[in-house]
Amino acid sequence: MSPPSGPRGLPGRVGALLVRRPSANEPEGLSLPLSLLVLLGPAAFLVWFFFYPLGSVFATGVSVARVSRILGDSYYRRIIAFTIEQAFLSTVLAVLMGLPGAYLLARYEFLGKRFVRALTTVPFVLPSIIVVLGFVRFFGNNGVLNRALMAVFDLDEPPLRVLYSLKAILLAHAFYNFPICVRIVSAVWSRLRPSTEEAARSLGAHGMRLFWRVTLPQILPGILSAAALIFIFCLLSFAVVLVLGGGPRYSTVEVEVYRLAKLSVDLQSASALAFVGSLISLGFLYLYIRLQSRASFGEELSGAGELPRLRTLLRRPAGVLFLLYLGMMTLVVLAPMATVVAYSFQARTGWNLRTVSLEWYRRILEAGGPYLRAVLNSLFFAALTVLFSLPLGTLLAYVAARTRMRGRQVLEALMMLPIGISSVILGLGYLKAFRSLPGLGDRLQGSWYAIVLAHTVIAYPFVIRAAGAMFRKIKPSLVEAARSLGAGPWRVFWRLELPLARSALVTGAAFAFGISVGEINATLMLYNARLTTIPVMIYRLIGSYNFIGACAMGSVLMAFCFLAFMIIDRAGEEV
């Protein structure tokens, strides 16, 4: 679940990949020697670039003395408590915001429903740094909302002061994550059999009682599953806390690990804290997977009947509230993004004077300038990340889907482990692990391939998820037909399974691209001035209060993410 920056994929399938569904009448599958042979390359890669760095963090961090020093220190205890507290509050807020939307999507038909549904994927593809930027520009003291309120009510002071506080963190997390709740819960809700509610109604239940006694118990697994996922995202959230928290008072484990490692250069304390943090996040990931397997994501009911039109809600006062909600929420998702884009077309002409201008885009495109360099770096890293993570994820997904090996579940859990490890900690691992290697250490830190390798490790589980789901969907009889027609296992893979999984691979590639292009956590740990990426550049521009520049870079980043979003949306239609 790690990169809260960058796309995080459709959560419904995370568990599905970790917990294998048994299927009857399976094809013969890959034999053990063949599985091991195929696994050889990917396993070597993961051992070297994931398990070894992670292990070296834990090897430093895990000593009774260090962990107990961390746990005994009231400062770190407060940070751990705050991490969990803010995640819990953010989750409650996001779920409450999401439930009405889930209801509307599940139970009503309306114009633009497809659009609204597509909007719920935004949290998965929108880099967190954009959320931060949009939040600052929209809700900030000098933001759109405050200035609108000041203009309307003729105030001298900005009425809403939310930045650099717990409020800011909670609101940003809630706005960022509530679409996840809408998405998961509406999926579960729309698959409820209407007959259970009809039966309850015929027995005399209606209104809230119907909801509490009949509907809620059925959608509860979906709500808990969404909540657990949001909780994990907020637990591992980095950029939002780093910028909107505004200081040590509102620091979480992630941010503190970053500060310790990068600013205080206290790698030992960072490692110990990272270890404690990883235990917490892996524990909640495990909880999520358990909850996930209980939520039923069964087949879409074909006999669900036609949904009522949304405008029938207008007849009831409560219904009007629902409509207001729908408008508000769409605005909440779109407004920060729109603000970023709108703000990017400005230029300062003097104190508090602005004009519409392409000034910043000119500066970004300036040949040899630092901004163009950041854009090119980002594209370069993203392209290589796709190049590496696609074969890695595809091979792993293929073995996981087809092997006859025992302990497949353990294998899959190991493959998906990077999802439960924060990428700040991964970056820390790279700093630690490869420093101790003579020669390579100095070169790896601050070298382009360290960033590419980290991005690959962060991105490949999403390739596994897309490709694995597809490999499992291929009917065993197709493979058998090809075999009976004279194709050996190798040719079956190249001529049948790979072409059939093509749209899934496109989705996986788009995810990998989007993740890499928006990644900030590990990048911040590993970059140097030459290797600045777009998100890092945005972070630095925000730090120097250059919001127009940040918004221009943000718009460029959003354009790339939008591209990935469109590809995923398209491919999703085909699958």
Partner: protein, 365 residues
């Protein structure tokens, strides 16, 4: 090319499959049986998708059980057709030839030929996902035949189609199979399909083959209660051997004394063909359509004349147009009579019918 399974054994935790049978060269053998009897598993063992724990599989006298599926030269038509959705009709059919390394021109000619054979000429460029069920079925057949397999396996190939289409296609499958003289194993649970298509039928039950015979022999001379009652409708009456009278065995049943032809059409008294032991408990079996209604107007008169006369009471009538099924009761037993539709009957009426000795069988209980 013939196929032979010799003492093939496959064990599962809850199921045991034992196979020992032969498919003669050029023959169409259907594997018939209720679901879960092991038909499809048998097919998958022959195809090489499941390896048996013991035994040998021979094709044309050569052992094939060590070969992987793609080296066996066996064509398969799957229940769900398993057409490759990313390939066109022609590319689906050309897949096998391509795997065999045929030249482009030769593959193309073969595709043309086969699409013609299954009456889909000109369909080559279509997407398989845009075809109807029947058309997909034909493409699946053409694809299986394209690389010149030595054996064709069909796994309930018509089960996904509606009744009318099924009849047409099964005639077509039969025609093509005859034309090519291709040894074929056809799995089905539809008895009518099995009877209409097969040179021989193998009836399976619980992982074993109960009986293999030509459809006619299987229907008339079932060798077990299971085959008798699984295929068509059967009247089964407990019987006990009373003695012998020339070519006929005499049995006592609740319906009275019955004479059963020992040779001829009547099935064997027991597996070895030896004379039945007096007093041995058996089951008397006759088909509903094997019964003749007594012609005389008064049932009382002819009631005890001629062999195997039974008086019964009509309990239920199912009128089917050309035929009618009468459910009757005699001596506390329910029997079914299959009679021409022209006569009129009424529920509660008495009726007298006879079963000619040559249409009776004795089965072991």
């Amino acid at each position: 090319m013939g196929l032979r399974l010799q003492r093939v054994l496959k064990l599962y935790s809850d199921f045991r499959l034992e196979l020992d049978f032969e498919v003669r060269p050029g023959e169409l053998l259907t594997l018939l049986g209720p679901s879960g009897c092991g038909k499809t598993t048998t097919l998958r063992i022959v195809a090489g998708f499941i390896s048996p724990d013991r035994g040998e599989i021979l094709m044309g006298g050569r052992r094939i059980d060590g070969l992987p599926p793609h080296r066996r030269g066996i064509g398969i038509v799957f229940q769900d057709y398993a057409l490759f959705p990313h390939l066109s009709v022609a590319d689906n059919v050309a897949f096998g030839p391509h795997m065999q390394g045929w030249s482009r021109a030769r593959s193309a000619a073969r595709v043309e030929e086969l699409l013609g054979l299954v009456s889909l000429g000109g369909y080559g460029r279509r997407k398989v996902t845009h075809l109807s069920g029947g058309e997909q079925q034909r493409v699946a057949l053409a694809r299986a035949l394209a690389p010149n397999p030595k054996l064709l396996l069909l796994d309930e190939p018509l089960s996904a189609l509606d009744a009318k289409l099924r009849q047409g296609l099964r005639g077509e499958i039969r025609r093509i199979q005859r034309e090519l003289g291709l040894t074929t194993v056809y799995v089905t649970h539809d008895q009518e399909e099995a009877l209409a298509l097969a040179d021989r039928i193998a009836v399976m039950r619980d992982g074993r083959i109960e009986q293999i015979d030509a459809p006619r022999d299987l229907y008339r001379r079932p060798r077990s209660l299971f085959v008798a009652s699984f295929l068509g409708q059967a009247n089964l009456v407990p019987a006990r051997v009373a003695g012998r009278e020339g070519e006929r065995v005499i049995v006592d049943t609740p319906l009275g004394r019955f004479r059963v032809a020992a040779g001829g059409e009547g099935c064997g008294q027991d597996a070895s063909g030896a004379d039945p032991v007096p007093g041995a408990p058996l089951t008397l079996f006759f088909r509903p359509e094997g019964c003749d209604l007594q012609q005389s107007g008064n049932p009382r008169e002819g009631g005890r004349k001629g062999p195997n006369r039974v008086r019964a009471l009509i309990r239920r009538i199912e009128y089917l147009g050309s035929r009618q099924l009468l459910e009757v009761e005699a001596a506390g037993l329910r029997l079914t009579l299959d009679l021409p539709g022209r006569d009129s009957f009424a529920v509660g009426e008495g009726v007298c019918f006879g079963v000619p000795p040559e249409r009776c069988c004795l089965l072991e209980r």
